[in-house]
Amino acid sequence: MTTQLKLIPGHKKELQAPPVLQVSKLSKVFKTGDGPMTVLQDVHFQVAEGEFLCVLGPSGCGKTTLLNVLAGFEKPSAGKALLEETPIMESGPDRCVVFQEDTLFPWLTVKENIAFGVKGLSKKEKREKTNHFLDLVGLTPFGDYLPREISGGMKKRVSLARVLILQPRILLMDEPFGALDAQTREEMQDLLLSLWNQFHHTIVFITHDIDEAVALADRILVMQKDPGMIAKEIRVRLSRPRERTESSFQDYCKALYQALKKPQP
């Protein structure tokens, strides 16, 4: 595991590092039966090394589409998406995605799903590493279950574990905790934060939950709909751990609530 830890350039965080991800004037137009449809328009932002960025927006505003471009699944129609100055062309294990939908491999057990992307380790190391991350997401008793035998919430945890195990530089997360109950969701948020503190991933986290965004993010991009654009950018200047009951927390929530409401007529 040590070899891989070296790959995570956590130390760079202190230096004023250049942005890891740069999105400039990005637009995405889909051809549909009813003609072209602009889903993203002139989206422009940067993500710094080790930053926790949340993208908050209503359903259908293009959050997943944006993520797909960053992940390399979709090409931009206009503008650029750069990973350290290089245009993003392909997906790969340096930019891991936790999908909104269930994308576990149904023919693999929980353990096998988690171990799927691990390469270049001995069998034993691989097993140990898998068990470690299985434990991290609290699924130790369910390692040999198949995806169809566990609940939706548990599936999400497996999805998280199978990318965390790759210790990617950049984590792209698409409403990963949307399907969890309030309590588990908070646990998972705490877990994610602790892992982030440990490994210094750069995280782009998509959510439609205001509380969640405030609890997690260094910075929040509020997206509007039709076409998908960034309506507002809010830097969350709260120390961690954050307390939901604090009034400063609530202030951020209210501000975001307003920001989300505004563009609607």
């Binding site: 997906s91 491999f105 035998e149 609940s151």
Partner: protein, 280 residues
């Protein structure tokens, strides 16, 4: 947390059965054959159909015993079974493998590549309606008489269900799984083996099972000409002579071999592939 798959229990439509225990489970499949056999027995016992038209179970049994255990020369077909079954199994296996060798890759291509699908589907859908026997004269011209022609006919028949089911299965694998795979570092061709084939496995296996069944059914055609032995050859000879008892022996043996090979195929796939074991 294990949610059992209770397809029948909850839905208010399907009848609910108490799960039959192990003894019952292995008993039930034999009900139908037993009933059938009883009917046959009664029909011939009371000579409702004369024996020369519909041989009695006893007659067929004797013919079967002779075929399997007679010493060669004792009578026609005596003792030929083992050699016949051996060579026929070999031919079915070879023809079926050949069909799988072409059917699965072409099916995968058709399922995932639109242009391929367009190129192949019309022709293949048209050709699968052509009776196998029509190919016999052409096959003899192409492949000469003997093993190759036999193989071609058996393989051709098995090809269609394998190809079609593989294509359907490949088409249904969710693009999200490929995205997930790509994100986890699975590179292009690798995705075929680590995502596409496992994802399409239930459909592929169904196609292979159908194809294997048809391989047996087309053995008769394949062994009609140019090979000296085999179950299909025996059946055709018996047919030429009107030996209905031997034909029935042939039906029973091919049904048994067909079922056995079907179970073997499923078993081997379940043993070798997680996806076959774990998906439907």
């Amino acid at each position: 947390m294990k949610a059992t798959q209770n397809l029948d229990a909850q839905d208010g439509f399907a009848m609910t059965f108490n799960k039959p225990n192990g003894w019952m489970n292995s008993f039930i499949p034999w009900i139908l054959p037993a009933l059938f056999f009883m009917g046959w027995f009664l029909v011939s016992r009371f000579e409702i159909i004369p024996a020369y038209l519909m041989p009695s179970p006893r007659q067929v049994g004797e013919a079967g015993v002779m075929y399997a255990f007679g010493t060669p020369g004792e009578g026609p077909y005596a003792g030929r079974f083992w050699v016949d079954a051996w060579v026929s199994c070999g031919r079915v296996l070879a023809g079926f493998s050949l069909a799988a060798l072409f059917g699965i890759p072409l099916g995968v291509l058709s399922g995932r590549v639109d242009a391929m699908q367009k190129t192949l589907s019309t022709s293949i859908n048209a050709l699968r309606a052509v009776p196998g026997i029509c190919w016999l004269p052409l096959a003899m011209v192409w492949f000469g008489i003997g093993y190759k022609t036999t193989l071609f006919l058996v393989a051709l028949a098995a090809f269609f269900p394998i190809y079609i089911n593989t294509a359907v299965g490949a088409r249904q694998v969710s693009p999200l799984l490929f995205q997930a795979g790509a994100m986890l570092g699975v590179r292009r061709m690798n995705a075929v083996f680590s995502i596409l084939l496992p994802g399409a496995m239930p459909s592929i296996l169904a196609g292979l099972r159908l194809g294997l069944g048809i391989s047996w059914a087309y053995l008769v055609l394949g062994e009609l000409t140019g090979v000296p032995n085999g179950l299909g050859a025996v059946i055709m000879d018996a047919r030429m002579l009107g030996r209905i008892d031997i034909i029935i022996v042939g039906i029973v043996l091919i049904a048994l071999l067909g079922r056995t090979s079907d179970l073997l195929l499923s078993g081997v796939f379940r043993l070798c592939f997680k996806s076959a074991r774990r998906l439907a």
